[in-house]
């Protein structure tokens, strides 16, 4: 009667890592494939979009060759993949700027907003869910449920407009649309080195606390709004996961040992709640990364959502596809991260 302990934990972990990397590569290739196909099936002629309606036959043919559109489809795909791997996502028709350059300016703005919102969602949602789960049927439980329900059912753009009107327009407590006051916009451009592209990080690194505070006043409303949506989801899931864990036998074991209730909940149960909760948090984060278009529009937030929507309005397909690829890559990486964390918290998954 001996325990079947794994002989070498590293062998298993390496195999897991290899599999994860392989599936990562496969997913990215699939992502490029789908994006490529979308680019070919939309009824927008990429050549006409560039040269315009009144171009000559010769101009059209030349552009066609330059874009590689006279090649067989599979070769076009290989070129597309090759370019993408070298960081070439094409050139925006609207601005003539390389898509990657524009996207690497827009993406950090979205990332900053979504990250702050997720932090707010977790810091508020997890304790709220735990509170509700430990006192089911109590007043606190009902309040958490009601607040969560509102987060689910209220349209974000409506909440955003009301928030702007009230806190910016009437009360003047927060900064308005955009990432900084107009007065700071120029200063930021010239005086702060863009290390991460996220204003909070870059101004902090540069020691420009005046700008940092201003950026927070602009961030707080959209981030709070998205954080509220995230909190609604996270608190509801935390409540149900926690209820489930508190019904397990090992909880009684911890109490038999005389452990205080805070430890039973926040150590014994919480470690088990984390296993499914990590996936929930990652999903909510991904949703905010790709789905905050409306919020970005209302708050004039120069993020990826705004960039893609603006490009879509003028049939700027390279910009749309490039932006989509970046969103997809972020999604895949987030997935990988949540998978790694999952293995970290659940020994049975290793």
């Amino acid at each position: 009667m001996t325990a079947s302990l794994p002989s070498s934990p590293w062998a298993g972990r390496l195999r897991g890592l290899g599999a994860a990397l392989f599936s990562l590569a496969a997913t990215l290739l699939g992502l490029l494939f789908v994006t490529f196909i979308i680019g070919r099936v939309v009824p927008i002629d990429p050549v006409l979009a560039i040269v315009g309606e009144r171009a000559t036959e010769a101009q059209i043919a030349a552009t066609r060759t330059a874009l590689g559109l006279d090649q067989p489809l599979w070769q076009q795909f290989l070129i597309f993949v090759g370019n993408a791997l070298q960081g070439d996502l094409g050139t925006s028709i609207r601005t003539g700027e390389p898509v990657l350059q524009a996207v690497s300016r827009a993406f950090p703005a979205t990332l900053e907003l979504a990250t702050l919102a997720t932090i707010i969602g977790v810091l508020a949602g997890v304790p709220a869910g735990v509170l509700a789960a430990t006192r089911p049927g109590s007043l606190a439980d009902h309040i958490v449920r009601l607040v969560g329900l509102m987060g689910y059912s209220m349209p974000v753009f409506w909440l955003g407009l009301i928030g702007l009107l009230l806190f910016y327009g009437v009360l003047g407590w927060v900064g308005g649309p955009g990432r900084l006051d107009a007065a700071f916009d120029m200063m930021y451009e010239f005086e702060v080195t863009p290390v991460s592209g996220m204003i909070l990080i870059d101004t902090a690194l540069a020691g420009r606390w005046d700008m940092f505070v201003n950026a927070i006043s602009h961030l707080i409303l959209p981030a709070g709004l998205l954080g509220y949506v995230s909190m609604a989801y996270i608190s509801r899931m935390t409540r149900s996961f926690m209820m489930n864990e508190l019904g397990q036998e090992y909880i009684t074991t911890a109490r038999v040992k005389g452990m205080p209730e805070w430890r039973v909940i926040w150590v014994h149960a919480m470690r088990n709640v984390l296993v499914p909760l990590i996936t929930v948090i990652a999903l909510s984060y991904a949703y905010l990364l790709e789905g905050s278009v409306l919020t970005e529009t209302i708050f004039a937030w120069p993020g990826l959502g705004s960039y893609i929507t603006d490009a879509l309005m003028v049939n700027d397909m390279p910009a749309v596809l490039g932006g989509t690829v970046v969103v997809g890559v972020a999604f895949v990486l987030l997935n990988l991260l949540s998978d790694l964390l999952y293995r970290l918290v659940d020994p049975r998954a290793r």
Binding site: A3, T253, K257, R348
Partner: protein, 276 residues
């Protein structure tokens, strides 16, 4: 020298399907001795044991005319005082280690938790005690087991970890719920002799819940036979195998006998009268 006295204990669950009475007026007292509790599945053995720790979870409700442990009225204690008793004074070996150990915590952290949190021992001191506790229950590679997670243990290994964990704080009263069902005969004998030693030398009180009537007859001093939440018979353990109550005889007949004739398994004779 009574350690624990229980009078008219009742445990009921107010469920949507109606009131379930799991324990219906159980009384017993326990000295520094080995008290066995036997009975068919669902007869209320586990609920009786958990009531002593006041750890029946809602919607379960515990009522008792008296539940006195070492001079203290358990029903009247605050939750805070009750928590002080759990672990170092009263402990319970949980029935199924597969579900009763935290699946995402290392076995070692679970074993050392009381020593670290309550007794404030250093990591190395706690570890030394945990190793000794595992060795006492015949685990040969304690260092490896400390680093393992519960799902990496066999059933018998899990049971021994559970026993070691509950014995570490030296409780005065141990409630052991089917503690040796997954152990092979030699390890079982070893574990029983440890428990026996604690009762004899340290004066620990032991409530030994089991399905195995022959084991209880051999190991315990007295036995409660439970049926549908009631004690139908209380007798000296040595008299158990010759019990005359028809329910107890039924339980005995259900025991598989090595070398016995392989007739059809006798059904357990039940009579609503016994549960009155």
């Amino acid at each position: 020298m009574t350690l624990l006295s229980v009078k008219n204990l009742r445990v009921s669950f107010d469920t949507e399907a109606g009131l379930v009475e799991a324990v219906r007026g159980v009384s017993f007292s326990l000295g520094r001795e080995r008290l066995g509790i036997v009975g068919e599945s669902g007869s209320g053995k586990t609920m009786t044991g958990r009531s002593v720790l006041r750890l029946v979870r809602p919607p379960g409700r515990i009522e008792a005319e008296e539940m006195r442990f070492d001079g203290q009225d358990l029903m009247a204690l605050s939750e805070r005082d009750m928590r002080r008793l759990r672990g170092p004074r009263i402990a319970m070996v949980m029935q199924d280690p597969k579900y009763s150990l935290n699946p995402v915590m290392k076995v070692g952290d679970q074993l050392m938790e009381g020593l670290r949190q309550r007794d404030r021992l250093s990591r190395s001191e706690a570890r030394a005690k945990a190793v000794a506790a595992l060795e006492a229950v015949q685990i040969r590679d304690p260092e490896r087991v400390l680093e393992a997670y519960p799902h990496e243990l066999s059933g018998g290994m899990g049971q021994r970890v559970m026993i070691a964990m509950m014995l570490i704080p030296n409780p005065d009263l141990l409630i052991a719920d089917e503690p040796t069902s997954a152990l092979d005969v030699t390890v079982q004998a070893e574990v029983l002799s440890i428990l026996d030693g604690l009762v004899r030398d340290r004066g620990m009180g032991l409530i030994f819940i089991s399905h195995d009537l022959r084991l209880v007859a051999r190991f315990c001093d007295r036995v409660l036979v439970m049926y549908k939440g009631r004690v139908v018979e209380e007798l000296a353990a040595r008299d158990l195998l010759a019990a005359r109550h028809p329910y107890t005889q039924g339980l005995l007949n259900c025991l598989p006998r090595i070398g016995g004739d392989r007739g059809p398994l006798p059904g357990l004779d039940r009579n609503a009268e016994w549960a009155r």
